[in-house]
């Protein structure tokens, strides 16, 4: 149970696949148009239930409860070995230092 007052993300289906704009690529046209928005949950609910939230600007929005206290997923990703030689090679070209450039 997610408690009223929790900061949550809801999912709203805005358009069904059959209602999508004309002229869009077929892969996009085969999917519904969705949006996600965050807000304070207005009544206790379970994930997957239809709920109402109060957003950051004070609007009320309805949708399906997607998750509670959504974390920001951004970070620095995995190590990318292809990047690690770029700086050393350029410095060697510019200042010398025995790199095979």
């Amino acid at each position: 149970m997610i408690q009223q007052g929790t900061w949550v993300t809801i999912r709203c289906q805005i358009l069904d696949a059959s209602e999508r704009a004309a002229g869009i690529p077929t892969d996009t046209a085969a999917t519904p148009f969705m949006l996600w928005v965050k807000g304070t949950l207005l009544a206790d609910a379970e994930i997957g239930q239809e709920v109402r939230v109060r957003t950051a600007t004070g609007r009320e929005e309805a949708g399906v409860l997607a998750e509670a206290e959504t974390a920001y997923p951004v970070g620095y990703g995995a190590f990318v070995p292809e990047l690690s030689g770029i700086g050393p090679q350029a410095r060697a070209l510019l200042f010398g230092g025995g790199e095979d450039a």
Binding site: L35, R59, I86, G87, A90
Partner: protein
């Protein structure tokens, strides 16, 4: 969303002009001539803010007066790769020093200031890029509410780390962020919200979005005079929707600078911008040819009836670079100059590195922006994400890069290339689109307008229109 009116997509789209008039206060119809031409300068002046007032507002908002830095090591490396006597001095305008970390603050500052003065309680912007953060930051400073609508996810709810970072940043400034799946229906959401909330529409393509950038062009000339004692010979701008190059070009002219103005975009040819499947197969969400070419060749495709961003009026040359080259230059900027910035904003830097090699040593080339970097918005997360999405990443010759399939980091700096796009073809394409738009034969006023819109002459426009009419009647 509560609205007593019909909120179906078709009904809202049919009320588009009425909604935008209420949300911007700009009556675009006032500037129309009835055919192709419209009063462009009149529309830009309609904001009611002169150039000096824009500068004053930006200063008040903590925007602008960013440093111009000489990239001595990157210039020296370019010189090593150039023929003897060649290799221009490269300077960069450190726009990351603006409050939200990009030149977009210039575009947002006057719009938000104006919204507040006009009595709006909030502002809305539809963008996945830095502009959303800029509007949110300015709204925070000026005490207005802010909504940002992003094209963010594919149908699996997978989003580029760069866009997710922008959402985080907007929320950090107190904005409400709506994250949509791929598709033009985002505009429907934006219109619906404008109607519901009565907020100001801070469109990137409004006159505010363009006049705010004039200060950038003007400042860089002044700073170049102070630092190097002369005007720049060329200025490179990352080009997408056209506001950056339009505003910068106007600022250069205001400073009496006739530097060659070069637009640069990341080459994403072959990827459809509204494709769910292609959405996460590109590593750049702006500054790419998917916006750069359509918006240059028909500016009035934006979210305002007439766009203030008209790049071909000011652009002298247009080049593309590949994704791998921009990531590479982002690494060089950090490791040779101690400036961790970008990556997307370094599109113009990648082009400049190659272009400088064909300019004399004493020439000056200005790269007119940097942007902030950080978690999500950095070569590491963006390239890991690309790899996760099946993009082949390797060192090699970036000329072999295929957008949506591979990203090739140059194995040597000599492989960074700016590739020219035929600008005459782009100008011709603008005329072709104008003919399609016109319900009648172009008038003399239209011809003069098109000559300005393409930075050409009435003779060239007449001749090209004749050839296009023959082509059409075939």
């Amino acid at each position: 969303m509560h609205n007593p009116k019909d909120t179906s997509c078709a009904a809202v789209m049919a009320r588009k002009n009425e909604i935008l008039l209420a949300a911007s206060g700009i009556d675009f119809a006032k500037f129309e001539s009835g055919s192709i031409a419209f009063d462009y300068e009149g529309m830009l002046r309609s904001t009611g803010y002169t150039f000096d007032e824009v500068r004053r507002v930006q200063a008040l908002c903590g925007v602008g007066n960013t440093p111009l830095l000489e990239l001595r090591n990157i210039s020296a490396l370019a010189r090593k790769l150039a023929p003897v006597g060649m290799g221009a001095r490269i300077f960069i305008k450190d726009e990351a020093a603006n409050p939200s970390g990009s030149f977009k603050d210039r575009r947002a500052a006057t719009a938000v200031y104006h919204a507040k003065r006009a009595g709006f309680s909030g502002v809305l912007a539809a963008t996945s890029g830095n502009y959303g953060a800029a509007v949110a930051s300015q709204a925070a400073r000026q005490g207005l509410k802010c909504i940002v609508v992003q094209e963010c996810y594919d149908s699996r709810r997978m989003g580029q780390p760069e866009i997710l970072e922008k959402a985080r940043k907007c929320e950090a400034y107190g904005a409400e962020v709506l994250q949509c799946t791929v598709g033009p229906e985002l505009f429907y959401i934006a219109l619906r919200l404008l109607e519901d909330t009565g907020y100001f529409s801070a469109s990137l393509y409004s006159p505010f979005g363009v006049t705010g950038v004039e200060t950038l062009g003007y400042e860089l000339v002044q700073q170049c005079m102070e630092l190097a004692g002369r005007m720049p010979d060329a200025v490179v701008c990352t080009h997408a929707g056209g506001g950056n190059i339009t505003g910068t070009g106007r600022g250069l002219l205001r400073a009496n600078c006739n530097a060659q103005l070069i637009g640069a975009s990341v080459n994403l040819s072959g990827l459809h911008m509204a494709s769910d499947g292609a959405f996460n197969r590109k590593s750049f969400t702006t500054g790419h040819t998917g916006f750069g070419i359509p918006f240059a060749t028909w500016p009035d495709r934006s979210d305002v009836p007439r766009s203030g961003a008209r790049s071909l009026r000011y652009m002298d040359r247009y080049v593309t670079v590949n994704q791998g080259e921009v990531f590479y230059m982002t690494e060089l900027l950090a490791s040779l100059e101690g400036l961790e910035r970008g990556p997307a904003g370094n599109t113009s830097l990648a082009a400049a590195f190659h272009i400088a090699q064909s300019m004399p040593e004493d020439a000056i080339l200005v790269v007119q922006e940097t942007e902030y970097t950080g978690a999500g918005k950095h070569p590491l997360p963006q390239l890991s994400f690309a790899r996760q999405n099946g993009i082949g990443l390797r060192l090699g010759d970036p000329a072999e890069e295929v957008p949506g399939e591979s990203i090739i980091l140059p194995e040597h700096p000599s492989l960074v290339r700016a590739r020219d796009v035929d600008i005459v073809k782009m100008r011709t394409s603008l005329l072709r689109n104008a003919l399609q738009y016109a319900k009648q034969e172009p008038t003399e006023v239209d011809i003069a307008f098109l000559a300005e819109d393409t930075k050409t002459s009435a003779e060239w426009v007449r001749e090209t229109l004749r050839a296009l009419t023959v082509e059409r009647n075939k």
